[in-house]
Amino acid sequence: MKINENLAISESGFLFNPSTGESFTVNPIGAEILELMREGKTEAEISESIIRSYEVDSKTLQKDLHDFSEVLRHHQLLDQYEETKN
């Protein structure tokens, strides 16, 4: 799961997709996850990193991460090439 490399993400959570011209706002934990995805981390590595720094259990995080990635897919923010490989 990798995000589209063209995305511009600001520190304040503003996200711009130059291919579509669409803008988004993402909360801090969402931005952190996007950054980890950009670095090419696997889902397990992302979970581990979030659980290390946030008060959350793995089941809740797994549910929310799945939901988050579905929303990213819906907005076409995931890497198309990676997506077709899957």
Binding site: T25, N27, I29, S53, T60, D64
Partner: protein, 451 residues
């Protein structure tokens, strides 16, 4: 290292349309305390869901309403509408403030007596009074508001055997310029039914006509309708004076004042747009003082407003059971209080606030209750923070009708507490157990012990 508070990851597309005149803030400040008592502590002690009544809010709302009328009219009397909320603790706050009781059934009548209300200060309304109930109320000297001719004849018959004349008023329905016109209660003004009933009462000689009553509708958003109604009742009263030289003691304007709740389909919040007590008081008292009553004969003005006096004093604290997405991708939140407890969710967009602080991120939600019924929807659309399972919400303006129209349906009803003005919490109705439901049930012998 201390871990950070978790909030689920959230991304939303920015979609800025043209600003509209109905643009509103969509953030809801958290309700962490009710009357200084922590919501978390209330839930820890009394469970979730939990009804909470603020005694301070009841009293201050009553004072506002009383002041609005008493500064404009010399003789004002409120009568607490039992059907709106007949928990004894709630009724007795109103009775302590000076309210009479307004009841609409034998059951409510007995509740008022059990609360210690002087029978002479009980108004008995309603279309379904039995002969035994009428007899009891009449002998006790309560004020009986006659709804139809069958009741008038029944009471006239009963009066023959009584030592005291029953004290009565008639209920009058009328066109006040609003839609819908409620014509199911009482006798119509425009077609002459009301005047006919008054003549029958006066000529029977068996009943003592004490007043005139109307109940023009519910959640009336135009205060002027009450002015029209008061003028028409005054007209009937002056007719009685002229024809029979009979002076009535009171005019009862019934209930129907809107609370601060927002009706479904409204653009703006009810708290900002609904008429105030001053608006209603101005319309009613202006009509009465400008009518033909001589100053010494001004009748007492009785008000049976229920909803507007209690809605804001009621809260439901509820817990998030789950959040999920619907087929459209829309966020849905499931809470442990449904329409079984919140009957008024069918009419209102109740304000809902989180009971704990959150970040500024919001998501549009549909809030469902816990019932396995498709109709169990508390809010079709509301912006809420990113809630997690177990988080608490506070539903506002729930004091009217929910504690009388709630249903023992699918699940049991929860505790109800009242917070007194000193911040002490009192359990005023115990939560139900399976015995509450099963004790009155009876299973025939041959159907017992089915395996």
């Amino acid at each position: 290292m201390e871990k950070k508070i978790y909030e689920r990851p959230h991304i939303v597309k920015l979609d800025t349309g043209m600003p509209g005149k109905f643009g509103m803030r969509n953030d809801a400040p958290p309700t962490t305390h009710i009357d200084g008592v922590s919501v978390k502590e209330l839930v820890d002690k009394f469970g979730s869901p939990l009804f909470v009544i603020s005694e301070h809010t009841i009293r201050s709302t009553y004072h506002k309403a009383y002041k609005a009328f008493s500064t404009r009219y010399p003789k004002v009397q409120f009568a607490w509408s039992y059907k709106t909320n007949y928990l004894p603790a709630v009724c007795n706050v109103f009775h302590q403030e000076g309210s009479w009781a307004e009841v609409v059934s034998g059951f409510e009548y007995d509740k008022a007596l059990a609360n210690g209300v002087d029978p002479g200060k009980i108004i008995f309304n309603g279309p379904g009074k039995s002969s035994a109930e009428l007899k009891k109320a009449a002998e006790n000297g309560s004020l009986i508001h006659i709804d139809h001719l069958d009741e008038l004849y029944m009471l006239t018959d009963l009066a023959g055997d009584m030592k005291r004349k029953p004290l009565v008023a008639i209920r009058v329905n009328m066109d006040t310029g609003i839609y819908p016109m409620w014509d199911r209660f009482g006798f119509n003004y425009e077609n002459g039914q009301a005047w006919d009933a008054l003549n029958k009462i006066m000529l029977s000689g068996k009943l003592e006509l004490a007043g005139l009553h109307t109940h023009i509708g519910t959640f009336i958003l135009g205060a002027n309708a009450y002015g029209v109604a008061a003028s028409k009742l005054a007209d009937l009263a002056l007719g009685l004076q002229q024809k029979f030289n009979h002076t009535i003691r009171y005019i009862d304007m019934g209930g129907g004042f809107a609370s601060k709740n927002t009706l479904k389909g409204s653009y703006l919040p009810g708290a900002d747009t609904n008429p105030t007590f001053d608006d209603y008081a101005e319309a009613i008292t202006t009509a009465l003082v400008n009518s033909g009553f001589k100053p010494e004969n001004l009748p007492m003005l009785i008000l049976e407003t229920g909803r507007a006096l209690i809605d804001e004093a009621g809260y439901i604290i509820t817990s998030i059971l789950a959040n999920k997405r619907l087929s459209t991708g829309r966020r849905a939140t499931i809470i442990d209080a449904g329409v079984n407890l919140l009957f008024t969710a069918f009419w209102y967009q109740h304000p809902v606030t989180p009971a704990q602080g959150f970040s500024q991120y919001r998501e549009e939600n549909t809030i469902y209750g816990p019932l396995c019924m498709n109709i169990d929807c508390v809010r079709e659309s509301i912006n809420l923070p990113l809630l997690n399972k177990g988080d608490k919400l506070v539903i506002h303006y729930t004091g009217a009708y929910n504690l009388t129209q709630w249903m023992q349906f699918i699940t049991l009803r929860p505790n109800v507490v009242m917070i007194d003005p000193d911040g002490m919490v009192h359990l005023i109705r115990q939560n139900e157990s399976i015995d509450t439901v099963c004790t009155p049930e009876n299973t025939p012998q041959y159907l017992q012990g089915v395996k």
